[in-house]
Symmetry: D2
Subunit: 302 residues, 4 copies
């Protein structure tokens, strides 16, 4: 009789593997939200490490663990569910010392346009968990990806100057001047320490407050102009978007432990270029608080 | 001895198939261009039809035919090469009555920024061929995909009016007003009849002339402002982009036969929305010439 | 006072546009299904045509119409909702003569593995509607995209022959032989005439019955082997997949009018090649019934 | 007179940014290869950090630096070019302390099928460089992404046992048994220390030697069967692929310094699942050599 548990074959003198598992597992999940449970379609990756003595990881266990989590719905939060999955991965793969779970899902919130019209806007929500027995690390993170709009502060000043000097055109300083503007993708990812709670909706608020203007699905004429005027009165580089979001994160989450991780990224799909502009900061809450005292910028073009 | 040519098995009373073949075949190819041969990385699909009496198509022939075409480089034009491939497909698959070949490739042209600085810009080039023995159709098409910039004419008028009425701000009419602007993807596809020649570079010129402004990789401060001023002096809906391109196509290619196919599409990756705006026209040169006499629009905001 | 309804500007002698509208609009929707309402995240495109006398289409109406449809949930079927959207588009854009709506969404069904274990599998559901006043056409279509597995009949025969002749290895005919197998993406799109009802779940059944084997998220050891044995006992070209699906469609939907449209496509992401193999048929129910009398193939390798 | 160099505005007490720059810059480049210069279409990202006292980074410099590099063609190697770009970024952005450059490009090599037929295969080539003044780090890396084929060792054993026990079918051990097989994407990334040279073509060889079988564009019947027989005689988990590549890397590059970084990943686009299986190791040459003495596995099914 031949062996059938090929993964369990003991091998000698091979290499440890850092991550072994499944990617792109799609499942609908019900998640508890401030206004009641909502269904999200989660896209999940789940890994453990593998010692050098074992030929293979039993990956069907990863899928079983994900399936079980779906039954106990609605889950309290996506990051709590990821951490629970990561813990269970370590239990079922008893040879493993590390586990990782990543999840992304489309997400929707009702917003109001400048004139107050309701509109349902789409976002991406992201969650992660990491367990590491050896280092006694059990982390979870929550994040969001938000599409907003940025208007460039630099071209705005230059265009105004050129038209002033070359064409002798003087536009009052209180009239926002033309510049290029574009879609800007802002992502925020933040560690949620034990006993702390961070609401994804708040991170979406922070991201939308940090661009030149939020964007909306439905904009009738007056609202469209209001968005344009707001964005041009509030021009931002990708650098400004990241720093403004960092400032808001530091202020709102200053109670978090110093070693809580934070990453903020802003990518402008430039309207004047075929490539993109990007700014990013990866740091901790402690670093944000210590020494780097941000004071909000005056209007750049003033 | 069992049969080994499974594809050649004669079956009875099954269904004709419209297209059978390969997709996503990547090959580097040398193409003759106005300024000398250039290498492109082509992504190719190649199909024939299949009669109801045959179990399978011999798809490895499609790959062999593509490989042979690569050896006879540099090819004169990508659409001529597609047509040659389509003819050869019909010859080698003697059971077939129809063949189709589609190709896309990244492509580059040297451009000048408004101040005259040279910059190498990236585009997509597309080619297609279709042979149909029964209908005696042997067509080839060439096309381009171009990233440009559009500034919205509607928000520009509304924003000016609102600031005028609400804030009593009067900006002279010769000063282009703020609006939202964004990446705009323009694609043009046109039939190249026998004995005619259409240069992809000319189609790129037409697409770039039809947006509010072309875009550039390298823009120092003065050039950046010039692009912004040009775009805002030339605001365009996706509808305007398509119509302006159609007008230029009709004027430049009026000598083509009336049944020559033309498709133009413009997609604005809206900066004020998370979704896109799109306009498209699929028609013939004859339709463009007959009755629909386009006169260029005056500046929309005047 | 300047005009503010820029889209409404009357222009002269321009070009008709075939499709003008929005793409990539994401909305959660509740849809009635056999086992109760489910939430899907729909990705929607919505277009109308534009006469040559009008400068622009009022695209915000497209979004409003989509928003209104969401409120009247749960919708009866996605294709019925698309048709309703298309009708409303024509009403609100009174200048339009044509409208089109396309929708895709992730979708899930509970399946049983060969040993009977329950597993939730993911699919894509697609719906379309087209209204054309001039031609008095009011069509709707429903479709699915299904990931399955195909095992190649050709390599199976050749490998068996080679090992037999070269290595003198004789394997009994009732033992399925090795071959290459791979992911196969099957899509079916079918017109749903007035008063007819077609259930997307049935189309998923047809697609899964037409590949060498369905695939499953959770497969413990015995189930994994069963899927492999089933697939190798049922080898299929992409051509076979399309024809088998066409046969099932003709038999199940023979009551549909002759002009009801059907498209079936199968794409094998080949494991032995870096490119894909593809087969497709676009036709009508009438064509499938008339003359092309399919008799199921005997096992190909016999 | 207003300031026009908005980026240069001195701000106080803001946040350092980790990475600021451009992404998705496409450029054709001529690269020196063993058999002569070849043209690749590079997709480039280029970043520097930004001190807390400066409002913005001058991103047009990043594009200028990339443009200049293109003129000095053919470049010796893509990773050397990335390092040169990273050095120049630090020079031109004199406020920066870190710079990063990443590049990917399609790449082609002539291969021989099992029967010796020539075939041009497509791969992806990747290069990276990182400069960090504060830590005195000046690193460059080269990598490849290769599509191959893996046959599952586990299902092969289980299917053989089931058919043996249930159906009393005995197939000789020297006949490779059926199993599922699929596309497998292998990526290797390795640090190239100063004065060392690592040839991307060798990394492609290593990746292709580590899957169950390489894959080919053109396979006539006998070659197709040979690939299938080879793959089934050499079944591999994603775990095996990564470990076999690591072993080959350790043996071939044992002369590299101990701290040279290595990452190997294998992703199987499973034919029996809709999700993927993945294994990965991130480590150093030193770790691979010390203590983890790999001995090649005997045939898994024996």
């Amino acid at each position: 009789m031949k062996p059938t548990d090929v993964q369990n074959i003991r091998i000698s003198d091979s290499f440890v593997l850092t991550r072994v598992g499944v990617t792109g597992v799609k499942k609908p999940m019900s998640v508890h939200r401030p206004k009641g449970a909502v269904t999200v379609i989660a896209n999940i990756d789940a890994f453990v490490d593998l010692p050098q003595t074992l030929k293979g990881s039993h990956m069907s266990r990863n899928i079983e663990i994900i399936n079980e989590a779906m039954v106990q719905e609605p889950v309290k939060s996506l990051e709590a569910m990821c951490l629970k999955l990561a813990h269970t991965l370590l239990k079922r793969h008893d040879y493993a010392t590390r586990s990782e779970v990543m999840l992304t899902a489309d997400y929707f919130l009702e917003r109001r346009t400048p004139s107050g019209r309701p509109t349902l806007e789409n976002y991406k929500i992201m969650a992660k968990a990491l367990c590491d027995k050896a280092q006694n690390v059990y982390k979870k993170m929550i994040g969001v990806e938000v599409i907003g709009m940025t208007a460039c502060p630099c071209a705005q000043v230059t265009a105004r100057n050129i038209m002033n000097e070359r064409d002798n055109i003087e536009v009052p300083d209180n009239v926002p001047f033309i510049t290029h503007n574009q879609r800007n993708i802002v992502s925020i990812m933040i560690e949620v320490p034990e006993n702390a709670e961070i609401e994804a909706d708040d991170l979406i608020d922070i991201a939308e407050s940090s661009v030149s203007s939020p964007t909306y699905g439905t904009l009738k004429r007056g609202d469209e102009a209001a968005v344009v005027i707001n964005a041009h009165s509030n021009p931002k580089f990708v650098e400004d978007v990241v720093r403004d979001a960092l400032m808001r994160i530091r202020d709102k989450y200053s109670y978090l432990p110093d070693d809580a991780l934070v990453t903020v990224r802003s990518t402008a799909e430039e309207s004047i270029h075929k490539h993109c502009a990007m700014a990013e900061r990866s740091t901790t809450i402690g670093k944000l608080k210590e020494g780097e005292n941000f004071k909000p910028l005056p209007n750049t073009c003033a």
